[in-house]
Symmetry: C2
Subunit: 296 residues, 2 copies
């Protein structure tokens, strides 16, 4: 695969594993598609799939999976702890290799167009694909959930971007769009005082005046007797890992607190870490093409 | 390709491009083999090929290329500025992905065995494959060059590891073995005093009491009016990039000299830089499996 997009669709089925398998099957045994992971949660009653592939093949597989989910999942009977508004709740496309965010955006729109025409499901474009500021955030779009969406979509500001003007009777409505890879990055502090982690979190996160692409909160690590600034970096190319790290370290010093370590949770794009090496080692004129693995 | 070894054979032909093409052709249009680069130098009269592949296929292609070089290159007529002792002068195998240095070592020995039997060329095992301490260093093995090797190989300490006990009449003798990827890493200093770069180079390099896997020398960057500590890191997993960088920075401070930047020349394995990010960001329990690109 030369050009790679990642897709992490969330389906509103986490209990009937026979249905889950039929949906996941759409990503198996396909040329230029690789199913990396899928996990179900009974309490959330939800399935999260991670798949990578070439744009064209990924589009076809994703449209097929939406069709299967619309056929199998009945939202009028769905219950679970996780907020949800559709059988296919959200479909993010993430540029990974030799693909721009603009191309991931086009892919999201192509899938929305084709799937809305074929299956009669409405789509909201979100994140980098959003057509208005108030539609960028998934939580804002999803507010009211499946049960409230028919009423909400009567408002002119909630007319969907593709498909019918109201919900699909059993499959609800889907959010789709391009976003950057997420980096889950936590910084551990040498104190058990949660209020310090909370204060630092408020300072570095976007909503409190901090970095544009940082979400953060303070968390207690009870077993270790320390606290942590737990973060999601939603665009590491703009809000760099090293810059966030150094800022947290600096703020911690005001309380006489040291950084004891950090954690990267789950997968991280190579470039997010190499950017940090570049900064600390002061490397001049570095190009990602110099990384051996990008040439393979 | 799931398991990847890199091979960088050096052939003693850099002028007759028709001959070069015939040798390089052995690495083209082969399943699970990718020719990344090859370059010839007229003054050196030498060709350096960079190829990656799965171990088994790389072995077959390399044996074929040795046969072609033995057929086409006559060392009795070879002249060039670069030291050399054989038509195929040196063949390093470098573990890149899902391959251990032990497997690269086995590959080197398999190629040496097969090629020595087929083409009657003797082989010295060098670097990580060396069978004795005095045979690790290529320059030591090659001393005396093609013209002096027949005499040198009469000594019991220079009996080759594979093949006939003396040189091939026209193809000489070849060094082959496993080595780690090389990182060419230079650190630029805010001074035009070459003696400072020289002194630091002597302190960080192995031969002067420094790091085991660092070769270093002082170099003048005339255009920029600064000097540089120019280094080869021959095993970044043992002599880490960040540790060398911090040591050079520390030594420069004794002269009141700042590090203005650094350079990575050519290709660098992802892990060499990610290790540095891990150090500076103090990441706990990081695994290379968390790098998205390793999962593709």
């Amino acid at each position: 695969m030369n050009r790679i997009v990642e897709c992490v669709p969330n389906f509103s089925e986490g209990r009937d594993l026979y249905k889950v398998e039929q949906i996941v099957q759409c990503f198996r045994a396909k040329e230029n598609i690789k199913l990396l992971d899928y996990s179900t949660d009974k309490d959330h009653n939800r399935c999260v799939v991670t798949v990578v592939g070439e744009p064209e093949e990924l589009k076809n597989a994703m449209v097929e999976a939406i069709g299967k989910a619309v056929e199998l999942i009945d939202m009028t009977k769905h219950e679970g702890q996780h907020p949800r508004m559709g059988a296919v709740d959200v479909v993010p496309f993430i540029p990974i290799k030799n693909v721009t965010v603009e191309e991931a955006d086009k892919l999201a729109k192509d899938v929305a167009k084709e799937a809305s025409e074929k299956f009669g499901v409405p789509f909201f474009l979100y994140e980098k694909s959003a057509t208005a500021k108030h539609r960028e955030n998934l939580a804002t779009i999803r507010k009211g959930q499946f049960e409230g969406m028919a009423e909400k979509m009567k408002e002119s500001k909630w007319v969907p971007d593709f498909g019918p003007k109201t919900i699909h009777p059993t499959a609800g409505v889907t959010a789709i769009g391009a976003r950057m890879p997420l980096v889950a990055f936590n910084i551990n502090l040498a104190t058990n005082d949660l209020s310090i982690a909370d204060k630092i979190a408020r300072q570095v996160r976007h909503i409190g005046g901090g970095f544009r692409f940082v979400k953060a909160m303070g968390v207690e690590l009870e077993e270790r007797g320390i606290v942590q600034v737990s973060m999601n970096l939603t665009d590491y190319t703009k809000s760099a890992v090293y810059r966030v790290f150094e800022t947290v370290k600096m703020e911690a010093q005001r309380y006489g607190v040291n950084v004891v370590g950090s954690e990267v949770i789950g997968l991280v794009p190579m470039q997010a870490l190499i950017n940090s090496a570049e900064y600390y080692l002061r490397i001049e004129n570095f190009s990602m093409d110099q990384v051996l693995e990008t040439r393979l």
